[in-house]
Assembly symmetry: C2
Homo-oligomer: 154 residues x 2
DNA sequence: CGAGTTGTCTTGAATGATTCAAGACAATCG
DNA sequence: CGATTGTCTTGAATCATTCAAGACAACTCG
């Protein structure tokens, strides 16, 4: 099975063996970016019923170390993974439901990516996370609070 | 004890009761910003031997909810806390040892703090984290790798 | 194409940070 | 000072993630 399947080739070129769980995880991430390990596990299971959760963690660790996927760890929620890598983009995370959206950084405009005083650190990454409420959570919140300040569960 | 101690007043003005553990945590954070719960617990214990770790978590939760302290949760390390709040600054974190440094954002220059496309989100916070190697970890790394690529534990 | 080597997966258990719950206690209000 | 409400103590549980040992499969080379 040394076919020229682009996904397999990509994995192999990063020094990793091509296995069914790895292909399944990569495919699952293609259709559901920003998924957590547990969700990916569910997806992979549909395709490969014998797969263990630990295998998924192993796959994610290997792929992330190899640079094939990127791991994002928003505060207060399990780690998420995405295939968009090597293109400087950031994230918009809903503090209500945890939904994640990609935000493209305007190319050539990255002044914040250089700290004013790096304190001697050799900076290799600048991570920008925008926290807010997604459309759904805004709607839910305005329902809970009809006019202004109400609510307060008995 | 309704003295005009500024720290107590600050806590009280945020709607919280003033207690010994809270004062101790605030003081510990003053001298060791970016501390994790465990370190703060150790500090507080020196002062108040009967304090439990859960009390520290409770205090940190209450203070953070009240906006008296800020919680930062770097990927792969326990949550850290700091008293610098309401002044837009960011962090420089060492990917080697986890050391945290404050980075002041140049005032008036915050173009990255507005995402190019907010996808309908009501953004309330922009968090910028710079990842790099601190001076010590750079030194340690150059020792492990004398000239160029060596090492590889047997 | 088949055997060996190396890396990956399975199963089972452990870890670490954090949170939950019930009751004892103490800070503030009047 | 007494009542009320919020906070702390003790003890246990949760969640995401990692570790370990062995079974197994992918790639390498003859």
């Amino acid at each position: 099975m040394i076919v020229t399947d682009p996904l397999s080739a990509d994995i192999r070129s990063h020094g990793l063996k091509v296995t069914a769980p790895r292909l399944a995880v990569m495919r699952a991430l293609e259709y559901a970016p920003h998924s957590a390990a547990e969700q990916l596990f569910a997806s992979v299971r549909d395709e490969l019923p014998g797969t263990s959760l630990q295998a998924v963690y192993g796959v994610l660790g290997a792929l992330a170390d190899a640079g094939l996927i990127r791991r994002i760890q928003p505060a207060g929620s399990p780690a998420r993974y995405e295939r968009r890598v090597d293109d400087n983009h950031h994230h918009l995370i809903c503090s209500g439901c945890g939904a994640v959206q990609d935000v493209d950084c305007v190319v050539g405009e990255a002044p914040c990516l250089t700290p004013s005083d790096n304190a001697g650190f050799a900076v290799h990454t600048a991570e920008v996370t925008f926290w807010g409420l997604c459309v759904d959570c805004q709607a839910a919140e305005s329902l809970e609070t009809p006019s202004s300040a109400t609510s307060a569960r008995p």
